[in-house]
């Protein structure tokens, strides 16, 4: 018999379904207990009960409306409870162009959200400014707030946004985001080609206080160095 993947419900011999707690150990003797790590349980719960706050400004907001309405029905993916108050939500979906006049508003909305919080940049305008390389358009919201997932498209199709949300859920479940947040090695804020020419006040968010661009290790690097450290520890030659 094929072994089910760990994130799917596992049917125990007694016919009861163990909760799909990631790499937890499902009960096999018929008893109703299971063991897991608290982190994993929390991450599982967080990833499947995202409360999005749509910061909808433009065309992408119309597609977002399609995503939450009956045909695509975002409720199927555990991100159903749309809240328009940043204080009640943990996922900021920036859907549409953000212009300079709106930039302080976006910053304020992001700051009002409680941790842990995640940001999806929906569409090319939010991600890079899109084809508006112009005098009044923010060239990507990562000038202002840190972004976890960029969703491509102008506007992205509903499938694409749902894919972005699933990717975010995977990232939350893997614990990768929490680790980087703790180590302040989160997605680096893009401060422009030349930091002197870029607009300073947009980039003084919580995550952007990490001094200097070069001191930020890349996500890939961090994961690798952690693995290396684990390998060293296993081989008995670690520093600790």
């Amino acid at each position: 018999m094929k072994t089910p993947p760990p994130s799917l419900p596992v049917r125990s011999p007694a016919g009861k379904i163990a909760p799909p707690l990631g790499p937890g150990i499902p009960s096999s003797s018929g008893a109703d207990f299971l063991t897991t790590k608290l982190d994993v349980a929390v991450q599982w719960a967080q990833s499947n009960s995202l409360w999005p706050m749509p910061f909808g400004t433009a065309c992408c907001a119309i597609e977002f409306m399609s995503v939450v309405s009956s045909h695509y029905d975002l409720a199927r993916f555990g991100a159903e409870v749309v809240r328009f108050s940043p204080r009640q939500s943990d996922l900021l979906i920036v859907a549409g162009t953000v212009v300079d006049k709106l930039a302080p508003v976006l910053k304020k909305v992001y700051d009002q959200m409680a941790e842990p919080k995640w940001v999806i940049s929906m569409g090319v305008c939010a991600s890079t400014g899109g084809f508006y390389r112009a005098y009044h358009v923010v060239q990507g919201i990562d000038e202002i707030v840190p972004v976890d997932v960029y969703v491509a498209g102008c506007p992205p199709t509903p499938e694409n946004l749902i894919h972005g949300i699933i990717e975010l859920q995977k990232k939350i479940q893997s614990g990768e985001l929490a680790r980087h947040r703790e180590a302040k090695t989160f997605v680096p804020i893009r401060v422009g080609v030349d930091p002197d020419l870029s607009i300073p006040a947009y980039s003084d968010g919580v995550m952007a206080r990490v001094p200097g661009k070069k001191e930020l290790p890349e996500i890939g690097e961090t994961a690798e160095s952690e693995l290396n450290a684990k390998a060293r520890a296993a081989a008995g030659e670690g520093d600790r």
Binding site: A58, F84, C125
Partner: protein, 577 residues
């Protein structure tokens, strides 16, 4: 391209000469453009009053103020009198069904004209916009502040010497000015009323609108609305792209009905070029325009009812939208931003089963509209929330520059599709619904009926959907077919010229107008004969609607303001461009 149309004539020439003499001249240019009168800043106000009040002219509707910076025009086209700026007032007479452009040429140094807010109240925001983006000063304007850009902005972005990518930092303090302006000067009153900020990030602003209200309990004493939170520089970006490359930008103006915007734009360019598109393209455009209108109205009604607490209708309204998206996707590959219209036709032919597919969509739409109708039209809660709220009288609607469903809900039967037919609208039979109530419920009813009329238009066109080519055979504007490119020398040359140089639109200007989902969608296009537009100015239908919002809601409850904002259907994309 050999347009030999007679110059547009004006019927009131003798009266004009008798009243204003030589101070106002008629500019004679061949083409499909609307007639133009030229005057100077001193005579402007007198001329405006004459045009508004004289029964021979009766230009009661102020449509647009298109400003142009002529400093980069090539030598032969540059103005002879050494002026740099132009202020073009676009007017319309609801009684005589005629458009007119009133032009003032202005010098490079301190361009200033007297304000026309006293003549047409609609001019208020248009003048602020022209000040903001072009730096034309309007003497005597009640509130000549920046409108679309923020208060930290330096310079005037649409002037030709402004770098298109020069940004300015906006801080939170820059945004507070409106809030301060809404405060009353009376210190006694400060304890009676409070300031309420509404937007720009608020679910019922449907995007990025902002209203700062002064409220006494629940009652709105004063309000000031602000826009520009989605000013993405459409007009500046158009000047840096070729004529065809502007089409995708037009999609993002009114993103609820992108096809209509693209059609309006390419129609303007086609008029400048003097080309006709084949009947099949006309029919396809008309059918898709009407589907887009249905989509737009469905979003408007659905979202408006969500704001009133009737969530079910939102699901009903979005199901037909998804089905229409399917058709659009089959035509052009995109759901929302179709970019389907092209100068001289469409990007590609409609799918083979277009007629059957379109016909199959109609029963579903009809059913969902009937569902909404059954739930809302005789619903007591809807009546209480929508009847009598957001009232706009016929006179006010005209004075504030309303067009489209909101004007028709106030009792003026002006519909470009009927009064100045374009594409296939002249060949089909449909009614223009109007209401004399002028309130939110009237707007809802007008939109519901317009959707039914749209389906009538679609049905008639599908019954005799023309065969034949989809695109014009003028290969100076549209890419020749691939067989021709590979096999014939001429085809290759056309292809090469088009790809490298773009469509060469002859020098000139036009005000082209179509019926958008929210009202008259006008494009003031100026060409200098190169492959790039010299100036593109959009007349967004929502702009005057939102400009008058602060007047409509004065004296009403905050909750009525929410209902009114939804019923006016403000789309930030075209409002701020």
């Amino acid at each position: 391209m050999s347009a030999t149309l007679a110059p547009p004539s004006i019927s009131f020439g003798p009266v004009l000469e008798q009243k204003l003499g030589k101070r106002v001249t008629v500019e004679q240019r061949p083409g499909a453009d609307i007639p133009t009168l030229v005057t100077d800043a001193v005579t402007l106000k007198e001329a405006a009053l004459f045009l508004r009040d004289d029964p021979a002219t009766a230009y009661d509707l102020f449509l647009d103020l298109a400003s142009v910076d002529n400093s980069k025009l090539p030598g032969n086209l540059a103005p002879k009198d050494g002026s740099r700026f132009q202020a073009n007032y676009i007017l319309y007479s609801t009684r005589r069904n005629e458009h007119l452009r009133l032009r003032v040429n202005l010098p490079a140094k301190d361009p200033a004209v007297p304000t026309l807010t006293g003549v047409w109240p609609a001019a208020n925001w248009f003048e602020r916009e022209a000040w903001d983006l072009m730096g034309i000063r309007f003497e005597g304007h009640p509130n000549l502040q920046r409108l679309l850009t923020h208060n930290g902005f330096v310079g005037h972005a649409l002037r030709k010497d402004y770098d298109k990518s020069q940004r300015w930092l906006c801080t939170e303090e820059d945004l507070l000015q409106t809030e301060l302006a809404a405060r009353t000067d009376d210190p006694e009153d400060m304890f009676e009323t409070m300031t309420l900020n509404f937007g720009p990030s608020h679910p019922t602003t449907h995007g990025t609108l902002r209203v700062v209200m002064r409220v006494d309990g629940e009652k709105i004493v004063a309000a000031e609305s602000e826009c520009g939170y989605l000013h993405r520089c459409f007009e500046k970006m158009s000047e840096t792209h070729t004529w065809v490359q502007v089409v995708p930008y037009t999609d993002r103006l009114n993103y609820c009905s992108p096809m209509i915007n693209g059609n309006g734009y390419v129609r303007g360019v086609e008029q400048m070029l003097g080309i006709e598109v084949p009947p099949r393209a006309k029919a396809a455009r008309t059918v898709l325009n009407e589907f887009s209108r249905i989509m737009d109205h469905l979003v408007c009604i659905g979202a408006n009812l969500v704001d009133l607490g009737a969530l079910t209708n939102f699901w009903y309204a979005f199901q037909p939208r998804e089905e229409i998206y399917g058709l659009l996707e089959a035509c052009c590959g995109a759901r929302l931003t179709s970019s389907y219209a092209r100068i001289g036709g469409l990007a590609k032919d409609v799918p083979d089963n277009f007629v059957e597919w379109s016909r199959a969509l109609l029963p579903g739409i009809r059913e969902k509209i009937a569902d909404i109708d059954g739930l809302i039209t005789k619903n007591k809660i809807a009546w209480n929330r929508m009847r009598g709220t957001g009232y706009v009288s016929k006179e006010n609607a005209i004075a504030w520059g309303f067009t489209g469903p909101c004007l028709r809900a106030s009792g003026v039967a002006y519909d470009v599709r009927k009064d100045k037919p374009y594409e296939m609208y002249g060949d089909v039979d449909f009614d223009v619904p109007i209401s004399t109530d002028g309130d939110n419920f009237a707007r809802y009813l007008v939109r519901m009926e317009e959707m039914r009329q749209s389906m009538r238009i679609i049905e008639q066109l599908l019954a005799r959907f023309p065969k034949g080519p989809i695109n014009s055979d003028d290969y100076r504007v549209i890419l020749p077919p691939k067989e021709m490119v590979y096999n014939e020398m001429e085809g290759l040359i056309y292809h090469f010229k088009l790809v490298f140089e773009g469509v060469k639109v002859p020098a000139g200007e036009i005000y082209s107008f179509t019926e958008g989902a929210n009202g008259e969608l006008g494009y003031s296009l100026v060409s200098d004969g190169s492959g790039f537009p010299y100036r593109v100015k959009v007349r967004p239908p929502c702009f005057p609607l939102f400009a008058s919002f602060e007047h409509i809601i004065k004296g009403s409850m905050v909750s009525d303001a929410v209902a009114t904002l939804g019923a006016l259907n403000i789309i930030a994309g075209e409002l701020d461009r």
